[in-house]
């Protein structure tokens, strides 16, 4: 099988699972519904069915897909950026930093919106970017990274940010549900306006990362080589780092911390279609969105009460992380 047909097949299978995921999301939920109800809604408007299908289930599925795509793209970028397959917005600390910013904004009453960003969203972006820059600076040794240093620095900085997040959450004693939301993630309160906030940024980041994918391929050869081959290394690095933080912050601001999506998805995709970054970025977004869609289906249907989605992604992702660590040895 040639590489080209392999990719086409991969794309077709991913799209099929993605669409099936959306259909299943529409048809399953605590209220029993069947395809007949969906067809009935298409024929004549019904306020209850429309609220359940469109405002609750579809908005939630779309948001889960967008967040999954953002996290997976962020992970794919970070893995290329750090030349390290273990990087991921959660592991590197961006997600924890972003959630600290969001919680801080809420605690300080900084809720105003600007350029399509809410106060928490903006602060999430800034603190996520700050944290990943810090981790970057601390783990940089003579122009290269040691895997262990990067991971440990990221985990330590992330834990510190999580501790501060918990501190601010528990200062406000009424907020058990808020704590679970920020620390383990949920799509329970998904609504269309959230999807509309992150969709344009996601599309922009996808376009820019596809456009700069060639430079990311060159970065894999080392910064000096990439520079010698004509890539504006420093600028490219800055843009990618900002995009990874932006994507993670968008995801965190609407759904809390959801770990491991950015780690496992680019891995699967790389195994199936090879390391070229343009295809990797676009496919990671598609597969990441689909993956989170199915995780959310499990989160809301596995038990009578809803599970935080971070529990599901961690259960799927952490063993994979361990496997990668073991293989490296």
């Amino acid at each position: 099988m040639s590489r080209r047909t392999g990719r086409t097949l991969f794309l077709a299978v991913s799209l099929f699972f993605c669409l099936a995921g959306f259909l299943i999301s529409l048809l399953t939920g605590p209220v029993r519904t069947g395809p007949g109800d969906l067809l009935r809604l298409l024929q004549e408007p019904d306020p209850v069915l429309s609220a359940i299908f469109i405002d609750l289930r579809l908005s939630r599925a779309v948001l889960a897909f967008l967040v999954g795509a953002a996290l997976a793209l962020s992970g794919a970028i970070l893995q290329g950026y750090f030349r390290n397959p273990m990087a991921d917005p959660f592991v590197v600390g961006v997600s924890s930093g972003a959630s600290l910013g969001a919680v801080l904004a809420t605690a300080l009453g900084f809720e105003a919106a600007a350029v399509g960003f809410s106060g928490p969203g903006l602060l999430a972006f800034l603190s996520g970017l700050g944290l990943v820059s810090l981790v970057y600076a601390l783990s940089l040794r003579r122009g290269g990274f040691k895997v262990e240093t990067l991971l440990l620095t990221g985990i330590a900085a992330g834990s510190l940010a999580s501790a501060l997040t918990s501190f601010f959450l528990f200062m406000r004693s009424d907020s058990y549900d808020q704590a679970v939301f920020w620390l383990l993630g949920s799509f329970q309160l998904a609504e269309w306006s959230q999807a509309a906030t992150i969709a344009p940024w996601l599309v922009l980041c996808l376009a820019v990362s596809a456009w700069l994918a060639r430079d990311m391929d060159l970065l894999a050869l080392g910064d000096e080589t990439a520079q010698a081959l004509g890539s504006p290394v420093r600028r490219v690095r800055k843009i990618f780092l900002a995009m990874s933080a932006l994507l993670a912050a968008l995801a965190v601001a609407v759904s809390g911390i959801i770990g491991f999506v950015g780690l496992v998805v680019p891995h699967w995709v790389r195994l199936l279609i090879g390391p070229g970054h343009r295809a990797l970025f676009l496919s990671s977004a598609l597969v990441g969105g689909t993956f989170l869609l199915y995780c959310d289906l499990l989160a809301r249907n596995l038990l009578p009460a809803e599970l935080p989605i971070g529990v599901i992604t961690a259960a799927a992702g952490a063993p994979f992380f361990l496997y990668l660590l073991h293989k490296k040895r």
């Binding site: 306020p47 609220a51 359940i52 289930r57 808020q178 309160l189 009460a305």
Partner: protein, 299 residues
């Protein structure tokens, strides 16, 4: 002068045709006051369910939480989930014309339900026992059962006054330690309405100085405070006797007066933990436990 008479005339004419009346909920959100009693009410808290049933709205409650087990017929109603995790989809599917939320329901969820077009009315008036009757009257107002609520309120106020009258005749105020059945010595602090119940029944809560609702009390402090009476909040008789045995066998408890005199009593945790009409039953029982002597003609 002329202006004022114009205003009066305008009001007189406007009133019958004007916009429907609105009533603010306890978060300050204006809600239209229903023209008549809502038909499909969703209750988001067990005490709200109890109040709705006490107001005779039995047939009009469309959904309750999984904790709503009183009165027993509430158990058969559709469940919307728990207190902190009600399911919006189920709530929407019940197509309610009134949703009553209580403190403890997450605010973000209340807001989400509102955005979905659900008519949510949030109740969050004071913590003290004095807030109970106004709370019931408020539920009566929003469900347009004002007459029934006024009658219920009159009855409850009368019983409160009877307890107050009996208290004035007492000779001493026993020291009380309330124990919540379970792990550890959890008791009610000064911010809890259980503290109010004790004071109103003519006792002194030894943990009244703690500025919280529920606090973990230290064993030495119980020994030092030496309560005359221990009241165990338990779900069942079995829990009560297990709790009593565990408490009396704790090292050092033998010296405590309540243990020596055997004044350890049971109180229904289920009724005492719901901020609803049954709280007055709990108060009367507490008063009779604290002052068994027939003072002021109490039964």
């Amino acid at each position: 002068m002329r202006r004022r008479s114009f205003l009066v005339a305008a009001l007189l004419f406007a009133a019958p045709f004007g916009a429907p009346q609105t009533i603010s909920d306890d978060l300050g959100t204006p809600c239209p006051l229903p023209a008549r009693t809502p038909e499909r009410i969703v209750s988001m808290a067990p005490n709200v369910t109890e109040i709705l049933f006490a107001l005779g709205l039995n047939g009009r409650v469309a959904g309750v939480t999984r904790f709503c087990d009183w009165p027993p017929e509430a158990r058969a109603l559709p469940k919307i989930g728990g207190l902190v995790d009600p399911n919006i989809e189920i709530m929407r599917s019940l197509d309610p014309d009134l949703v009553i939320a209580f403190r403890g329901n997450p605010l973000r969820l209340v807001e989400r339900a509102r955005k979905l077009g659900l008519p949510v009315f949030v109740l969050d008036i004071g913590e003290g026992l004095d807030a109970l009757v106004p709370l019931i009257e408020r539920v009566g107002r929003i469900t347009r059962t004002e007459a029934r609520a006024a009658e219920l309120a009159r009855g409850l106020r009368g019983r409160l006054e009877a307890v107050d009258a009996a208290r004035r005749g007492i000779l001493s105020r026993p020291k009380v330690f309330v124990l919540l059945y379970g792990q550890g010595l959890w008791t009610c602090g000064g911010a809890s309405y259980v503290n109010d119940l004790i004071a109103r029944a003519g006792g002194i809560n030894i943990a009244a100085a703690m500025p919280k609702k529920w606090v973990l009390y230290k064993r030495e402090r119980i020994i030092k405070d030496d309560p005359d009476i221990v009241i165990i909040l338990a779900r069942s008789a079995a829990d009560f006797s297990a709790g009593r045995d565990r408490f009396t066998k704790l090292a050092g408890m033998g010296s405590v007066k309540a243990v020596r005199t055997g004044r350890i009593y049971e109180l229904d945790e289920n009724a005492a933990s719901r901020f609803g009409p049954r709280l007055i039953d709990v108060l009367e029982r507490m008063a009779s436990l604290l002052h068994p002597e027939p003072a002021g003609g109490r039964k």
